[in-house]
Symmetry: C2
Subunit: 415 residues, 2 copies
C-alpha cells in the first residue's frame, strides 16, 4: 500500500493559498499601475496623433532630448546597484528591482510615444509589474525563491493588462524569461496575477480590441501549409528586425564614443534623424502604429515595404537612446508582413495579418506557447488556433536563438 | 555590425521543411490508424452498451480471460527486447518501439471496453501513434534524435485524434513526457502531426463533441476563487485516483505471487470482482462512461460518490491486468467531481464539470498547459479560458509529483 503522505499535499495547499493571496495582491497593484500608465499614454498620444508634419518634426528631437536628460540624470537616483531589467532581476538579482527609479521608464516611454518615437507600450508595463511586485515582495520579506517568483508574476500581470489577453499575457511573462523552457512552478502565480491584473485594468476602463478573422469552416491542408509559409517569412522578418535593432544600437554607440557626444544628446540626434526620415516615410509608422494593425486585421492588404519602414524607425528610436517597449512593434511588423505575404499567396490578408502577428511574437520574443494562446485569445476560432499555431512554431524555429531581449538566456536549444 | 549568419536560418529552414514532411506523413498514418481503432471501438461498444445485467456480468470475466491470454501469449512475439511504452521509448529506447506486437494493446483495449472494463481510449491511440511513427522513422533510417522526436510526434498525433483537440492534444503528447518541462524542440513536429492527424480522423468520419458552457459575460472574482477551490478539490481527487490505481496494482500483484496464480487468470478474477460490484454500482461507470461526462457538462449535478465508483472500477480493471487507457477516466472523474463541488459552492454544475475535467487532467497527467488549451478547445469562451486555467494549475500543484503514468520522469520540481 502506498504510504499516504499528508505532508506533500499540505505543502502544496499552503503554496496555493500563499500565491492566491500574493498574486491577487500583486495583480491588483500591477493592474492599477499599468492602467494609470495606459490612460496617461492614451491621453498624450491622442493629443499628438494628428499634428501637422512640421510640429511632428519639432516634437521628435524635443522628445529625444527630454528622454535623454530623464534617463541620464534619473538613474543617478538608483543607488541600489541593481539593474533595471526584469529578466536580469529574476536570473541574477534574486528578484530585486531598484524602486526609487520605478517611474523613469514609464515616464520616458510616455515622452517617447507622445513625441512620435516608434516603440511599444509593453516594456514599461512589464517594468511597472516587476517593480511593484518586487517592492511588495520585499515589504513582505519573502525569501529569494518567492521573491523571484513574485517578480515574474508581476511581469506576467503587466503583460496580461497591456495585451488584453490574461492567459497568454501570463504565460508570455513566464516564457520570455528564458529560451526553450517554461518554468511550471511560475505558472500558478502568473495566471492568478494575470487574470486579476487584466480584470482590474478593465475595471479602470482600459479599452481592449479583439478581432474576428473570417475563415472557411472547413480545414484546408493547402491553407495550413500556406500559413506555415507565412510563419516562415515572418520568422525571417523577425530575424531582420532583431538584427537591425542590434545593428542600430551598435552604430549609435560607435558614433557616441567616436565623437565623444554627451549621452543625453544621442536621442536628440535620433529624433532629428527621424524628423528627416518622415519626409519620406508615412507618419503612420511613428508611435505605436496600432491603426496599421487594425487595418491589416480588417483585411486591408498591406505593403511589404511597411516592414522596412517600421523596423527602420524602431531601430533608430530605440537604438539612439529613446526608451520604449519592444512588443507592439512586433505586432505591427507581424501584421504587415503577414498581410503582405498572404496577398501574394492568395490567402485572405486578414488571416495573414493574424497569423503574422502571432508568428513574429513567437519568433522575436521566443514565446511560442504564449503566441499560440495569444492567437486564441485575440482571434479565436480556427484562424487563431490551428492556423496560428503551426505558423507561430515555424517562425519560432527559423529565427534560431536570436531575441529582441538581449538578456534572455538560452535554457534549451531549439534544434 | 552583427555578423550575418546564413547557416543558422538555413539549418532551421531545413528542420522546418523536414518536419513539415515527416510530421505530415506520420500524422496521416496515425490519424488513419486511430480512426480504424475508434470505429472498431464504437462498433463494439454500441453492441454491448445496453445488454441486460446478467449478460454484462458474464461479459466481464470473459473479457478478462481474453485480455489475459492475449497479453500473456501476444508479447511472446516481442523478440526485440524493447518495452511497449511510448514514454520509456522516448527516454530510454532512443525512440524505438516493438512493431510486431503493435496490434496487441489496441485489441486488448477493444476487448476491455467492449466487455465493460472501466478504462480509456487514449492509451491505445497514443500507442498506435508512437508505434507507427517509430516504424516510419526506422524505415527512413532517422538518427537517434530525430527518431525520438518522430515517436513523440506520433504520440501527439494520437492524442490529437482521440481528444478531438488538435493543439491541446499535440501539446499533451509533448508535456506528458516529463513533469515540469515542455521540450520546445518537440513542438513543431507535434503540432503539424496533431493537426494532420485530427483532420484525417475527421475525414474518416470520427465524431467529436464540443460543449458550450454558459457563464455570465462579466468576470467575477468570487467565481474565479470558487473555480480555484474546485481545482484544488479536483487535484485531491486526482491524487486519490492515482493512489488507488497504484494500490490496486500492488494488491493484485501480491495476490498473484501469494497464490501463484497463472497470469492470464488475473484479469478474469478482476472481471468476476467487477461483475459482483455492478450489483451495487450503476453500470454507467463501466466502459468509457462518456454519457456521464455529457450529462455533467449539460449541467446535471452529479453525485460525488460517482468519483468513488469510477475510481474503484478503473482501479480493479487496470490493476487486475485488463489493458486500457487512463485519460478518459480522468475526464469522467473530473467532470463528476467538478459538477458535485460546484453544486455545493452554488456554481453552475456545467461550469464546474468543465473546470473539473481540465483540472483532473492537469493534475493526474501533469500537463497544465495542455489542460488549459484543452479547456479552450473543448469549451471556449471565458469558462474554458480564465476559469479553467486557474483551476487547472491549482490542481496540478496540489497533486505534488504523483502521476497516472508511472514512467513519467520529473524534469523540474513543482515547488
Amino acid at each position: 500500500m502506498p504510504r499516504i503522505n499528508y505532508v506533500e499535499p499540505a505543502v502544496m495547499l499552503a503554496t496555493i493559498l500563499q500565491w492566491l493571496f500574493l498574486a491577487t495582491v500583486a495583480g491588483a497593484f500591477v493592474g492599477s499601475g499599468t492602467s494609470l500608465f495606459l490612460h496617461g499614454l492614451f491621453f498624450l498620444t491622442e493629443r499628438t496623433a494628428s499634428v501637422p508634419l512640421w510640429v511632428q518634426m519639432l516634437l521628435l528631437p524635443l522628445g529625444g532630448i527630454l528622454n535623454g536628460l530623464l534617463l541620464y540624470y534619473g538613474y543617478r537616483w538608483n543607488t541600489a546597484g541593481l539593474t533595471d531589467s526584469v529578466i536580469t532581476s529574476v536570473h541574477k538579482q534574486s528578484g530585486r528591482m531598484p524602486f526609487k527609479t520605478v517611474a523613469i521608464k514609464p515616464l520616458a516611454a510616455l515622452i517617447t510615444l507622445a513625441s512620435g518615437g516608434s516603440a511599444g507600450k509593453e516594456g514599461p508595463c512589464s517594468h511597472i509589474g516587476g517593480s511593484l511586485a518586487s517592492a511588495i515582495g520585499r515589504m513582505l520579506r519573502l525569501n529569494v525563491e518567492l521573491q523571484k517568483r513574485i517578480v515574474a508574476c508581476g511581469v506576467s500581470a503587466g503583460f496580461a493588462s497591456v495585451f488584453g489577453t490574461p492567459i497568454a499575457g501570463a504565460i508570455y511573462g513566464v516564457e520570455v524569461l528564458a529560451i526553450g523552457r517554461i518554468r511550471h512552478d511560475f505558472l500558478f502565480p502568473a495566471i492568478i496575477a494575470g487574470v486579476t491584473s487584466f480584470e482590474v485594468s478593465k475595471m479602470w476602463g482600459v479599452p481592449y480590441t479583439y478581432y474576428l478573422i473570417p475563415v472557411l469552416p472547413e480545414f484546408s491542408e493547402i491553407l495550413f501549409i500556406k500559413t506555415i509559409v507565412i510563419g516562415i517569412v515572418c520568422g525571417l522578418v523577425a530575424w531582420f528586425f532583431v538584427d537591425m535593432l542590434t545593428l542600430s544600437r551598435k552604430m549609435f554607440e560607435r558614433l557616441r564614443t567616436r565623437f565623444a557626444i554627451w549621452p543625453p544628446l544621442m536621442p536628440f540626434l535620433g529624433g532629428v534623424l527621424l524628423s528627416a526620415l518622415i519626409i519620406v516615410i508615412p507618419t503612420d509608422y511613428l508611435g505605436l502604429s496600432l491603426p496599421l494593425v487594425s487595418r491589416a486585421l480588417d483585411g486591408e492588404a498591406m505593403p511589404f515595404l511597411g516592414v522596412v519602414w517600421k523596423t527602420l524607425l524602431v531601430a533608430i528610436t530605440l537604438g539612439s537612446g529613446f526608451y520604449g517597449g519592444i512588443a507592439t512593434p512586433q505586432f505591427v511588423i507581424g501584421a504587415i508582413a503577414g498581410s503582405a505575404v498572404a496577398d501574394l499567396l492568395d490567402v485572405d490578408p486578414a488571416l495573414g495579418a493574424a497569423v503574422g502577428l502571432v508568428s513574429v511574437i513567437a519568433a522575436a520574443s521566443n514565446t511560442p506557447i504564449a503566441a499560440i494562446l495569444m492567437g486564441i485569445e485575440l482571434f479565436g476560432g480556427m484562424a487563431g488556433t490551428i492556423y496560428g499555431a503551426g505558423a507561430a512554431i515555424a517562425a519560432y524555429l527559423i529565427i534560431g536563438h536570436r531575441s529582441v531581449y538581449p538578456d534572455q538566456p538560452v535554457a534549451y536549444p531549439k534544434s
